[in-house]
Structures are given as C-alpha cells and as structure tokens.
Amino acid sequence: MKRLIIRQLIVDERNELFDAQGMRCAEFPSDFSRVREFTSQVLETCPEPFREGRLLEQQLSEIIKNGIKHGNRNDPSKKLRVWYDLRKRARFIVEDEGEGFTLLDEWNEFFRRRQTALFEEDFDAFLALASYRGPRSDEEDGGNSLIAALEYWNGGMIFNDRKNKIGVVRWFAHGS
C-alpha cells in the first residue's frame, strides 16, 4: 500500500546542527551577481566524492542565494556568514541579517498540498501548485530550492527561531 510521507521545514534553535565548533567560517557581501562565485570559494577544498557531479554545488548555491536575495534582500550593507565542515560529511550553517523566513508555516502548507496532489496523481493540480508564490516572490522564485533541499540534506535541515539561519548536513554512503 502506498503511503504519503510529507517532510516539513523545522524550527529548532537548540539543534546540534547549529553547533559551529570546529567549523570554518566565511563572510560574504550581499551581492547577487556573485552567488556562484561564493559557493565555489566555500567548496574549494571539498572532497570530490561529496560533489556528486554538480549537485552539492547546486544545493549550497541555493542556500547562499536565498540568504542574499530573500534574507538580506540584496542590501549591500548586510553580510552573509557561512560555516562549513567537509570532513566525513558536508555540513553548513548559513546566517543572513534579514528578518527571517516568516512564511515558513505557509510554505509547509503549500508543500503539503503539492505533495498530496502528486500522491493522488492529480497532475493538473500538481502543475498548478508546482511553484510557491509568496507576497515578495518574483517570476524566478518557485520554492523549488526548498523542495529539493528537503530531500538532498539527508542528515537534517533546521531553521533557528528567528528563521534567518539554517543548518544542513548531507551524509554520503562511503564517507571520505
């Protein structure tokens, strides 16, 4: 029997994913045109097996983009901080200086409806719900980065109470 399992974005300030002890840290200006450049800098010493083609680069780039674009709203006076640890697994903490992801509960509800339509094989409803639109979204926003992230970060993806900081980890089958 098929079962519907819907993941959710979770808030947990005290989660161990926010323990930055022993992690390296980089600070970046809120420059949207340099999102991929910042991602490459963080991953400069990344073990090859962790990259999985371009998948890790893409997933980290989404978090950095979200922090700069949605968190700091491209405000050049605001910084983005990235803590990273690429020993045995890929672990990151990314913090922006914005007001936080205030629509987290709404996004969880959108995702629940989207995955329900998919489960029920209602492809018209699914396609209509395929992208998330918040009040500040533009045409290029679709919430797709969070949808893939929920699956990709298999060791957890947690927001702090203010929702301006995210901790993520991905484990790999063979480690390094």
Binding site: F32, S33, V35, R36, E52, G53, R54, L55, E57, Q58, S61, E62, K65, Q115, L118, F123, D124, F126, L127, A128, A130, S131, E139, E140, D141, G142, N144, S145, I147, A148, E151, Y152
Partner: protein, 105 residues
C-alpha cells in the same frame, strides 16, 4: 547558457537546444525565449538538455513555467538528454514526472 531554436523537422517538432549552465542568471532569459515560442503558436517543441550539466531551482522554475504554458496553449512538449545532476534535481522536485521524455535513460 545558450538556447538555440531549430526550425521544425519532418515530425513537426521545433527544437530548442540548451548549452551551458541553466542557473539563476541564465534561466530567466531561457524561460522568456521558450515562452515566446509557445505564445507565438509553436504546437510541438522538443527541448534538448543533453549539453546542460548544471540546473538549479531557477532552471527548474523556468521548466515549470514552460510546462504550464504549454499545457495551457495545447503545445506538445518533449524532452531529450536529461541526465546527470539536472536529472537528479528534477527528480527531487518531482518535476521529472511531468516531463514527456524521448529516449529516457
């Protein structure tokens, strides 16, 4: 990323060949170009992604908008060459289910 449109062949499908990274910088222009082809009456469109090695959520968003518009206007969309990391991203976002693929790997 470059997107080249090719005139319809014998099967009536117009081609769109993508080459390079379909990312937050290039996806908006790609979406605009493909949506414009559909709006101007293309009834059969084949998107070739075999030369795309990198696809991010903006690229996925562009493909969703193209799928939505094609369905709305009755344009038959087909995809070829969806592999590597782009395939994994499309699978994780459940969008691969909606894509009619030729020569599925």
């Amino acid at each position: 990323m470059e997107c080249t449109f090719v005139a319809p062949g014998e099967d009536g499908f117009e081609g769109a060949i993508l080459e390079g990274d379909c990312d937050l910088y290039s996806a908006p222009a790609f979406a605009k170009a493909a949506l414009s082809r559909i709006a101007s009456g293309a009834k059969r469109l084949r998107l070739d992604l075999s030369r795309v090695e990198y696809l991010d959520s903006s690229g996925v968003g562009a493909l969703i908008r193209i799928l939505q518009e094609a369905r709305r206007r009755g344009c038959e969309l087909r995809f070829v060459g969806v592999g590597g990391s782009p395939r994994k991203v499309l699978k994780m976002t459940n969008v691969l289910n909606l894509m009619h693929e030729e020569n599925r790997p």
